[in-house]
């Protein structure tokens, strides 16, 4: 007898979704979450707690949703030659809280495209990277994407993106209102031959699933939603809790997956509670949904998973910011942070193909371009110089009121040398080795950014910007070997550190996310991604988690087909 059917480590989009599916199948589930609970009442009827607010200081500067680098530091270096580390502190931190990163993301939730699942066989190899096909294709995942959009509640226009993969049906909600800045930039983009479209977002445009429509408060990306207009992951988590078969234990830090006497199966997990007291939960299945940074850290601490691969192939998105300063106010503080996207750099045109060839690369795989704007005053203020210039620039506000921003989430190629491992000296508050990142982008990412950035600057000027500039994260100089003050990549999209595949020698998980070596341990998060694609990962995380959890629970696989041609 075990305590529960499944113990889930982590309550973000991956863990919450898995819990919803398993409880629906009648399983008993315990979710262990290291962070605190500010998301929803754990007692019925599981309403909101009212802790999140339109408070810039708390969310952006005081680690409210965690992780606090004084509790959970991470370390970073670009390559082994840097020594043990060049930076200690916050490294691509996603929140450490009930709800994980979904809680404070602004939730652009596009799907991947067909080619993203077999880039290797369609586009060929690329020197210095281990691009591989996924073990299944888009067609198999389509019904799970549709289910993910229904569970989270995604608002979007299924006709708007000419490059989108096929869909079995429309979005559950129509898109919300366009931000003024995006009206300007998307119009200019269209005129220059780009294909902007209304971003599918996990934000209610109408009342949905008992939660209200968004009222455009503008404290969206990096903030929890005070009115629960964002569905990810409060919707699946509440569904799991309401089944009566799910228990969520916040402030429960899992330290180890424990194997049974045979060493072939997991018995459960060990964790420390809020007072630091150790406990064990036994379960028939262990689900790791700690995010693509913490999941490999836990695997390494537990000495589980193919040791040649665990933690390797860490991918972010290579972020290119193209910024335009306008002569008038764009009021980016109203609305959902980002309302428009475009896929053009993902589907290269002749100019991009030529530029790739000139750079000696077989192809460019860029990423979605998010149309956004500046919004918050403390963030603006701390980037200004002190003294007279501070006050003058706060009044003129080129970085908040008058700034439009394109963010390209460039595809990051998988490289075995980019990895998460355990820092030899730095520890977390619980005395465990901190996770350490070793990461340097591939030449492809830098060349691709350098091609698209000037083209996007032209769009900015077309929209009315009086000056433009662009920067990348990690910085381009860094990709070329220079040293930066804070070289850590800003991207909050983390993938690839326990890649799935059919060959146990070259992957960590099988195509159903189970560890090749310990069959009752399943990885539910983006650690399993073989490649990163140029889209935000979260809808794909949710779709994959539904697929794997349904298989685990013996539910019938979902099937779909394209709607008949009109």
């Amino acid at each position: 007898m075990t305590d529960v059917d499944a113990v889930i480590v982590g309550s973000g989009p991956a863990g919450a979704t898995t819990a919803a599916v398993l409880t629906e199948a009648g399983w008993s589930v315990t979710i262990l979450e290291k962070g605190r609970n500010h998301l929803l009442d754990l007692e019925p009827p599981h309403g909101p707690l009212g802790h999140v607010s339109n408070d810039e200081l708390k969310h952006l500067f005081r680690h409210f949703l965690g992780p606090d680098p004084l509790i959970e530091p991470r370390t970073y270096r670009r390559r082994e030659a840097d020594g043990e580390r060049i930076f200690t502190g916050s490294v691509n931190n996603l929140p450490s809280t009930v709800g994980g990163g979904g809680f404070h993301a602004d939730g652009k939730l596009p799907r991947f495209r067909e080619v993203d699942f077999h880039a290797r066989s369609e586009l060929g190899p690329i020197d210095g990277a281990d691009v591989v096909d996924w073990p299944f294709g888009y067609d198999e995942l389509e019904p799970y994407y549709a289910e993910a959009e229904r569970v989270v509640g995604v608002a979007g226009d299924h006709t708007a993106n000419p490059f989108a993969a096929w869909r079995s049906g429309p979005y559950p909600m129509p898109p919300g209102p366009d931000m003024f800045c995006a009206v300007l930039t998307s119009r200019a983009a269209s005129e220059l031959g780009f294909h902007p479209y209304r971003a599918p977002t996990g934000v209610n445009s109408v009342e949905y699933d008992g939660r209200p429509a968004c009222n455009n408060c503008g404290f969206c990306g990096f903030f929890g939603c005070p009115i629960e207009a964002k569905g990810d992951p409060v919707a699946p988590l509440r569904q799991a809790l309401r089944s009566g078969r799910c228990e969520v234990r916040p402030e429960s830090y899992v330290t180890e997956v424990v194997l049974d006497a045979t060493g072939d199966r997991a018995r459960g997990v060990r964790y420390l509670d809020a007072a630091g007291i150790e406990h064990e939960v036994s379960a028939r299945h262990v689900i790791l949904a700690a995010g693509a940074f913490e999941t490999p850290r836990l695997l390494l601490a537990s000495e589980l998973g193919n040791p040649d691969v665990v933690g390797r192939y860490l991918m972010y998105h290579f972020q290119t910011y193209v910024l335009g300063v306008f002569p008038f106010s764009l009021h980016g503080h109203r609305g959902r942070s980002v309302t428009h996207l475009m896929d053009d750099p993902i589907v290269p045109d002749a100019a991009a193909r030529d530029a790739a060839r000139e750079a000696g690369l077989p192809y460019f795989r860029g990423g979605i371009v998010e149309h956004g704007a500046g919004a918050h005053p403390i963030l603006e203020a701390v980037h200004l110089p002190a003294g007279e210039a501070h006050t003058r620039l706060m009044l003129e506000s080129p970085m908040r009121e008058r700034l439009a921003a394109f963010t390209m989430q460039g595809e990051d190629l998988p490289q075995a040398t980019n990895r998460v491992d355990l820092d030899p000296h730095v520890k977390d508050v619980w005395g465990r080795p901190a996770g350490r990142v070793t990461f340097l982008p591939h030449r492809h990412e830098a060349a691709c950014a350098a091609h698209w950035a000037p083209r996007l600057e032209e769009v900015m000027r077309g929209a009315g910007a009086e000056s433009t500039f662009w920067i990348t994260s990690p910085p381009l100089e860094d990709a070329r070997g220079g040293v930066q003050r804070d070289p850590t990549p800003i991207s909050r999209h983390v993938m690839g550190t326990a890649r799935m595949g059919t060959d146990p020698r070259t992957s960590v998980c099988d195509p159903w996310h189970r560890l090749h070596d310990v069959e009752n341990v399943l990885v539910a998060d983006s650690s399993v991604f073989p490649t990163s694609a140029g889209y935000g990962p979260t809808l794909t995380i949710v779709a994959l988690a539904i697929r794997a959890a349904r298989e685990l629970a013996g539910l019938t696989p979902l099937r779909s087909s394209p709607p008949a041609a009109p």
């Binding site: 408070d55 005081r62 009222n215 109203r334 005053p377 007279e388 706060m394 908040r400």
Partner: protein, 192 residues
């Protein structure tokens, strides 16, 4: 908080912090300077966050009452054991306490202020602006810390002690928190 209700800074220290913030954020046109905005009260509230319970670290929610609804920001949220450890370490320093030093000693903001204010000098408030700037430039690390806190004090929610009467927000025409009212679709999409 007001000068009459100090948490950490002595009246003399408060005066130096206020004068320094006035140089880091000097008044321009209708925009008041850091002194008028209450940046020193903000710093005092932060350095003395643990003199009250719950500590003045995270304001409550979901709304402040400024855009409707029941005012809840002033009901500060509590910290967990490890969160309190982190925030006490950040503010008070590790002070040789083993559980705060798992990655080595940490200098807290209180010590940085104590040393920084000594370096600025007890006569700081009485100096000319040029002399004040020279003293600030002589302690670049402390100037950076003070500037960061001055920015927070000028534009954070008033519940944190600064942004007195929301004068920081009003000066830059920032509406601040807007729940539960939010913005209409027209306000989001239109030019005005």
């Amino acid at each position: 908080m007001t000068e009459a209700d100090p948490h950490y800074l002595s009246p003399a220290e408060h005066e130096v912090v206020a004068a320094a913030c006035e140089r880091l954020i000097p008044p321009v046109g209708d925009h008041p300077g850091g002194q008028t905005l209450g940046c020193a009260d903000y710093v005092d509230t932060l350095l003395g966050a643990f003199t009250v319970d719950p500590p003045r670290i995270w304001a409550g929610g979901p709304v402040s009452g400024r855009a409707g609804g029941e005012a809840r920001f002033a009901d500060f949220l509590g910290l967990s054991r490890v969160e309190e450890l982190a925030w006490r370490t950040r503010i008070e320093g590790s002070r040789g306490i083993p559980e705060r030093e798992f990655n080595g000693p940490v200098t807290g903001w209180q010590a940085e202020y104590r040393d920084g204010l000594v370096a600025l000098g007890a006569d700081f408030a009485a100096l000319s602006p040029a002399e004040q700037d020279a003293r600030l430039d002589a302690v670049p690390a402390f100037k950076d810390l003070l500037y960061r806190h001055a920015c927070e004090g000028a534009y954070a929610d008033p519940e944190y002690g600064g942004n007195r009467d929301r004068a920081g927000w009003r000066a830059i025409r920032f509406p601040g928190d807007v729940q539960p009212r939010g913005y209409t679709d027209e306000e989001v999409t239109g030019r005005a």
